[in-house]
């Protein structure tokens, strides 16, 4: 298994920039895995690979379609945006059903509080 540095052009004409690295046994598999692991959300217009310790870069032969062509908004993790408002809504819905959260989370699940307690 070799380490391959992954280089990206964010936009056409941008210089190559190292954006990460992957493990792969050969160039073919490295190309496929780099595309899947680093460019699934349109993070660049094209990419290249350089085996760690070597100078030669290998540019992706066909960057068309990297980042996908079908709507992928469901892949974006937006579930935690506005959590406070969502929590209030959940509490209200629970209250309508006669349910309440009547105690805080167990102490062991609150690492900061536990640490403070230990330090005090």
């Amino acid at each position: 298994m070799h380490i391959w540095d992954v280089l990206s052009r964010r936009r056409d004409g941008d210089p190559w920039q190292v954006v990460g690295s992957i493990n792969a046994p050969d160039l073919d598999l490295a190309m496929m895995l780099a595309r899947e692991t680093h460019f699934r959300h349109g993070e660049g217009t094209t990419f290249a690979l350089r085996r760690r310790g070597e100078d030669q870069t290998h540019e992706c032969p066909d960057p068309s379609g990297i980042g996908g062509v079908v709507g992928k908004e469901y892949r974006r993790q937006e579930g935690y945006v506005g959590v406070g408002a969502k929590l209030k809504r959940v509490h209200a819905l629970m209250a309508e059903r006669g349910l309440v959260i009547d105690r805080p989370r167990p102490r062991g699940h609150r690492p900061r509080a536990a640490k403070e307690a230990a330090g005090a």
Binding site: N23, D28, M32, E36, R75
Partner: protein
Amino acid sequence: MPDPRLGLVLALADDELVLGHRHSEWTGWAPYLEEDLAFSSIGQDEIGHARLLYELAERLAGKDADALALGREPGEYRHAILCERPNGEWGYTIARQYLYDTADDVRLASLEGSSFAELAAAVRTIRLEEKYHLEHAGQWFERLANGPVEARQRFAHGLEGAIGEALAVFEEVPDEKALVADGVLPRSNEDLLGEWLGRLGADLDRVSLDWVLTSHTGADGEMVPTSSGEIEAGPTLTVPGVERRDGRWVHVGEFAGQGGRRGRHTEDFAALWEEMTGLYRALPGATW
């Protein structure tokens, strides 16, 4: 009387949704991190393709895409049984992905010429991503087929387990004759199956794994030499409906694992359906 196009679109969408769900079960468990991410992404692609197709089916069915994807009873799903089988080990998973995606490629290439213009357009978009799935399956096909002995054995075992049911990806869909006559299906499934078998046979011949396509019989069957030179009855390896004629693999007779296109599924799907639709059934219309 439902629009006959609905059965076709649901078959295509359900294949992608159910197999995408199975792929997603590898998240956190794939052989190594890079592949874990790659396979998870492919699973998401398949579910994305399913959504595109369910949106197409909305006006044919009079239900929204979520209700079609998650609000049906198990017997109303039209996917091929191959797609619902548990992942098993990596050898089976890759064998199934290779078989399914090559079969899918043959049928999608044909559907690009469908008289159902919206379907043809959706298929053209889907194929832009499916080419990467084919590449992924092809990369692993070569590595496992030409890899160390154990990898090759496990892959061959996976192919043996999946090939019979993979044929039924091309099981006739409801109202197929009418769909072919209208040009919605430019070619019949039987015709497409013939093309796929030719391609599959060539791939397997090249890596000397074509024997997984061979039908053996048990008791009265074929005789094979053992390592001691004795002759004994061979193992039972049954792939219904595939024969070699004039150097080409052709389909004859029945499919293994047929029934998916008419809503007949295995117990494997019952467990998958429970999990896949659990949240939707508990809280229909929930958003997060």
